[in-house]
């Protein structure tokens, strides 16, 4: 059941995995929405963004009936609770729900830091160590995958359908692929994360997802031109 476009607006940007989470959640629920792009490359923020998210001044922001909701995982939960007649995003069992929240928070806590660690690592050894951090995290998620309903042979963390943790982790796939390409490493491997290897494939093909993940080549260029230099500059400034 789609709602009028004017009712739902997403402030996002194509390179942002956090914004992508919201795109996917809205698609899952068949919600019509207006998409307004923030230009992350220039770093200049729109008035609407500053007004809607004065605390963090970051995307994504969902505006529903003009009321702003911030923080991607909070927005995804909001979408699940409001459009409750669509497919469920959070699991229905309280413990499963809590576990999904735990791993989604883990992804947010660890993965971006781990990717940054690879970008700023000086020398082969440091890079290898930084890559290991990320790969170890993926092994933990492989274990979590096996423990979830996916362990019973279902394709997603959420079971037959993509759910909260699928969205939380899957939204990063663009960036994980760029990391693989930029640093000539393999993050998902048959040897260490066999189930996740098939999961990646299933997730990317899902109708709610396939148009939302940024193209690897386009994101790769964006990473080299904008994001990696920014990460390095920030790290250099912090080190002083």
């Amino acid at each position: 059941m789609g709602k009028g476009k004017g009712d739902v607006k997403l402030l996002g940007a194509w390179p942002s995995p956090y914004a992508v989470r919201v795109n996917i959640a809205l698609n899952l629920k068949s919600v019509d929405y207006e998409f307004q792009t923030e230009n992350l490359a220039t770093g200049s923020k729109s008035e609407l963004l500053i007004k809607s998210n004065p605390v963090h001044k970051k995307i994504p922001v969902l505006l529903h009936g003009g009321k702003p909701i911030c923080e991607s995982l909070i927005i995804v939960q909001y979408i699940d609770e409001v459009w409750s007649d669509g497919p469920s995003i959070l699991p229905s069992d309280p413990y499963d729900r809590a576990v999904a929240r735990f791993w989604a928070a883990y992804v947010d806590d660890k993965f971006y830091t781990a990717v940054k660690g690879i970008v700023v690592a000086d020398g082969e050894e440091a890079k290898a160590a930084a890559v290991k951090v990320l790969k170890d995290g993926l092994v933990l998620l492989e274990e979590a995958f096996l423990k979830s309903s996916a362990g019973e042979g279902k394709p997603f963390f959420g079971g037959d359908e993509i759910g909260y943790l699928d969205i939380a982790l899957g939204s990063l796939l663009g960036w994980l692929r760029v990391t693989e390409k930029s640093f000539n490493v393999k993050l998902f491997e048959e040897a260490t994360t066999p189930r996740l290897v098939s999961w990646v494939d299933s997730f990317c093909k899902h109708p709610a997802v396939k148009d939302e993940l940024p193209e690897t080549d386009k994101l790769f260029e964006y990473a080299q031109k904008v994001v990696y230099p920014r990460i390095k500059a920030f790290a250099a400034a912090a080190a002083k």
Partner: protein, 235 residues
């Protein structure tokens, strides 16, 4: 399950001077849920804790019928979702729920770190004034969420965000006392001050605040730059 029976399958692995542990226990106590508290020595973590929270190896961990769950805010929502005959701490409306989740996250990730840096002077001397202003800005921000009219963040009753904000009641005063000055004064933040009094008028809140002495000793130790001779012994 009667209110006065300890749920055999319910344990909290915690560290009593930590607000994360206290948030969980305050939630359980508000709902009249009985549980067993297991005190962890963070310098000598139990094998149980390491088994139940292998990822972060941290307290608190809730163990319910053999199922472990770490992370205080996640545990709080789990408690709310599971013990449904007690009064909920989360508001019913999805937008309000999004708001309290946002502000609870803000408290942990922006407000408390800023207060610590300012009060404990954990920055370069020339940056300190700026850090004080920043902290005051964030304190004002959370005070505006409370506003003038509400007794609690949860309205008429203590809710999720009130519990998430107990930092301000149990820990910030001890920090200020050890540091010898007040960032959050009654005059500058009258609504938060009124809220603090409302909260303290509840037995459940008072019972779940850390004891002053060990907390004071911790902040004195921290202010000293963690001098070994000042290391507190946590009982």
């Amino acid at each position: 399950m009667g209110e006065n029976e300890i749920d055999e399958g319910l344990k909290v692995y915690g560290f009593s001077i930590s607000p994360f542990t206290r948030k969980v226990e305050m939630t359980l106590n508000l709902k009249g849920i009985k549980y067993e508290h297991i005190e962890e020595d963070l310098n000598n973590k139990s094998s149980d804790l390491l088994r139940y929270n292998p990822v972060h190896k941290a307290t608190p961990v809730l163990l319910h019928n053999g199922n472990p769950l770490p992370e205080s805010l996640i545990i709080m929502e789990y408690i709310d979702d599971t013990w449904t005959d007690a009064d909920p701490i989360m508001p019913p409306d999805p937008y309000d729920r999004a708001m309290v989740r946002f502000w609870a996250n803000f408290i942990d990730t922006k407000l408390v770190p800023a207060i610590k840096v300012a009060v404990l002077r954990e920055c370069e001397e020339e940056e300190h004034e700026k850090k004080i202003e920043e902290a005051k800005h964030w304190v004002k921000t959370i005070e505006n969420v409370l506003g003038e009219k509400k007794k609690f963040f949860g309205g008429e009753k203590i809710g999720y965000l009130d519990i998430a904000a107990i930092w301000l009641i149990g820990w910030v005063p001890a920090m200020q006392e050890a540091a010898g000055w007040e960032l959050i004064s009654k005059e500058k933040f009258p609504f938060l001050s009124a809220w603090t009094q409302e909260m303290l008028s509840h037995q459940v809140v008072r019972d779940n605040l850390p004891h002053r002495d060990p907390l004071h000793a911790y902040y004195v130790w921290r202010l000293s730059g963690f001098k070994p001779e000042l290391t507190p012994v946590f009982k």
